[in-house]
């Protein structure tokens, strides 16, 4: 494990280049391109806001902000996992012809997603200020939540990127899974609306504590539940160790399977 991490570190320049290339194609090198990547989340935000503040009428003050602070981190998670699923196949030329630690590929997908999320936070901060919710000192805890989310996202990404080489429709199945997962995570609704007897099931979902913490810090302006976050971190580490090992085993046949 230590050896592996050392090796990944040695290949940091490759990771950097892949992330840079991905961001460059995403932003096309312009501010407009940068804004363009937020069109999709913005549209989602508008649709959900219309439905849930006029039709479904969830009684939450400035619902759009409540939604926004959970939506962007969710999109980071779900797109990273979905894109990771196809990343080995997309780079099959490399995988078949050159040796490099294969985990660099999902790692680069998640990392460029993270960079994108960090830019997104700038927009979130601006929106918080404009909407007069403001930002508080609890913002100092934000990095912890981001790190935990990064670990969990990476864990799932390792898993699906390796599995998808063997089961190519996983990528499509994931689309449906992610939609369901979205509704089973307290993103659109506050956690207090979940009936008591179902609450424990929601906390089986590793994304629940993450989203709840983001909302605490950004929307409610209070410190997150550290116990919950700690457990979440622990679980994140456990699943990443598991999924990394699965990846390491499955990667041996990548070159032959693709």
């Amino acid at each position: 494990m230590i050896e592996n991490i050392k090796e990944i570190y040695r290949y940091r320049e490759m990771l950097k280049n892949l992330v840079k290339k991905d961001l460059r194609t995403r932003y096309k090198g312009s501010f407009l391109g940068f804004l363009w990547t937020f069109v999709n989340p913005l549209l989602q935000l508008i649709v959900y806001t219309i439905i849930f503040s006029t039709v479904m009428r969830i009684n939450i003050d400035k619902f759009y902000m409540f939604l926004f602070v959970g939506l962007l981190p969710w999109i980071f998670f779900s797109t990273s996992v979905q894109v990771s699923a196809g990343t080995i196949i997309a780079n099959k030329d490399l995988v078949k012809k050159i040796y490099f630690p294969r985990e660099i590929l999902p790692l680069s997908v998640v990392t460029s997603g993270l960079v994108n999320l960090l830019f997104g936070f700038i927009i979130i901060f601006i929106s918080l200020i404009i909407s007069k919710i403001g930002i508080t000192v609890s913002l100092v805890y934000l990095p912890i939540v981001i790190i935990v989310e990064y670990i969990i996202t990476l864990a799932f990404s390792f898993l699906v990127s390796a599995l998808n080489v063997y089961f190519r429709d996983l990528e499509h199945i994931l689309g449906i899974v992610m939609m369901a997962w979205f509704y089973f995570t307290p993103i659109i609704f506050p956690i207090r609306m979940i009936p008591k007897e179902y609450l424990k099931y929601f906390f089986l979902n590793p994304m629940t504590p993450i989203i709840v913490s983001y909302k605490d810090i950004l929307y409610y302006g209070r410190s997150p539940d550290f116990l919950m976050l700690g457990i979440s971190m622990l679980i994140g580490l456990l699943i990443i160790i598991f999924s990394y090992n699965v990846f390491k085993i499955l990667q041996k046949n990548f070159a032959e399977e693709i």
Partner: protein, 423 residues
């Protein structure tokens, strides 16, 4: 110190006939995923010492590339162990990881980073890489505008400049032009002197001889021979020879059959005349003549009376012609001609030119060549029997093919006996 240790390594490929790679297919049509297994490597044992240059030779499909892929960890063995000490750089296929729309320079950064170099390391090497590639004028053009040779130059320049302890090269050099090949060889010698371990695949035996301390001959996934370069290459050549000897024999059998079946047009007879060397190959009929005397069989023997179609230059060869007489004729001349496969006539003669009297027709005549001093290549034998004016009774073009091997690297048509003197 051994830097590469390969212990009893086996590798098989699965060849799917109808491969399903989706969850649906894998679950629903389980039995559909039938596959054949092909063992590409069958128990390879190898030890390569630090600083050794090793040439990997063998026929197509013998497992050379598979072995290199295993050494770089692109694929993994089914059985056995591979131990490698040090940083590996490999150039197995051209242009892996090149982005056609990025410039040469950008691709150097990208490609070198895939080899595990950091930004600072690449910065330091950039000039070396560019100057080695000789692509200074094109380095800021997109790689898609490069020719395949230029592509290969760039790829090779990166791979060879990454400061690896072990360098693995598949037969990619062949794409470069002569001057670049020379440069690569010089660079490999330089690396070799620095103590880099090099393993490379080549079908160019001379290059293997020049560069390698050791050669390994792979045959059908086994090591057929390894050790001293010259011996291994000679073993390999011998094997190729016996193999093509069998093939040649079959070829020439087919040829004589087909020529025997050919209908002879009488008109041809009058057109074709004169000596063997004047025959133009453009004519697609391979056999002419009125068959008053008919050639039945032609064989080539070595000095031990063994029928052969592969000869070492300088060997004694006996060509035996069996014939029968269909109609009484006054005079008979037997002739032979040896042509290179590009239709150059190397030598032709007949009994008339040689002033050899044929006083009785026994049904067999042999001609012995003491010293077949031709240069490496494929040759064809023409055999003819005609009257003294050159009117053919039976003339067969390319009745036999045979190969000549030299183990030196002379060029030309024949080997002229010679000596060097320092005065």
């Amino acid at each position: 110190m051994d830097v590469i240790k390969v212990k009893d390594v086996w590798k098989k490929y699965k060849i799917y006939h109808d491969k399903g790679s989706t969850l649906k297919e894998r679950i629903l049509f389980k039995n559909r995923n039938r596959y054949e297994e092909r063992w590409a490597l069958k128990g390879i044992d190898l030890d390569i010492k630090k600083g050794e240059t090793v040439g990997l030779i063998g026929e197509n499909g013998s497992g050379k590339s598979t072995l290199l892929k295993l050494l770089t960890k692109i694929i993994y063995p089914n059985k056995g162990e591979i131990e490698i000490k040090g940083k590996v750089s490999s150039l197995l296929e051209l242009g892996a990881g090149f982005h056609p729309d990025m410039t040469g320079r950008e691709n150097i950064y990208m490609n070198a980073s895939i080899f595990g170099l950091t930004k600072e390391e690449i910065d330091k090497k950039l000039d070396d890489i560019i100057s080695f590639s000789g692509l200074e004028d094109f380095i800021d053009n997109p790689v898609r505008t490069y020719s395949s040779g230029m592509y290969m130059r760039l790829a090779f320049s990166v791979a060879i400049n990454v400061d690896a302890d072990i360098l693995l090269i598949d037969e990619v050099l062949a794409v470069g032009d002569t001057s670049f090949q020379k440069k690569c060889i010089e660079k490999m010698v330089e690396l070799k002197n620095k103590g880099v371990t090099i393993v490379f695949v080549s079908h160019d035996n001379n290059m293997v001889k020049r560069l390698c301390d050791k050669a390994i001959w792979l045959k059908n996934g086994n090591i057929a021979s390894q050790g001293i370069v010259k011996d291994v290459i000679n073993n390999y050549l011998d094997h190729l020879n016996t193999k093509s000897n069998i093939k040649c024999t079959e070829d020439s059998k087919n040829e004589i059959n087909s020529t025997n079946n050919q209908v002879i047009s009488e008109r041809e007879v009058s057109i074709e005349k004169e000596e063997v060397k004047d025959i133009k190959p453009a004519n697609k009929n391979k056999r002419w003549g009125n068959k008053y005397v008919e050639i039945l069989q032609v064989d080539m023997f070595d000095k031990d009376n063994k029928s052969k179609h592969i000869f070492i230059s300088g060997e004694t060869v006996r060509i035996s012609i069996k014939y029968k007489v269909n109609k009484k004729v006054d005079d008979v001349v037997f002739g032979i001609g040896i042509f290179r496969d590009d239709e150059v006539c190397c030598y032709g003669t007949n009994t008339f030119i040689d002033n050899y009297k044929i006083d009785k027709l026994t049904g067999r005549i042999d001609v012995e060549i003491d010293n077949l001093n031709l240069i490496t290549g494929k040759y064809y034998l023409d055999v003819a029997v005609h009257d003294k004016f050159g009117l053919p009774y039976d003339y067969i073009k390319k009745i036999l093919s045979f190969n000549v091997e030299t183990r030196t690297e002379e060029i030309g048509v024949v080997r002229l006996a010679h000596k060097w003197h320092i005065l």
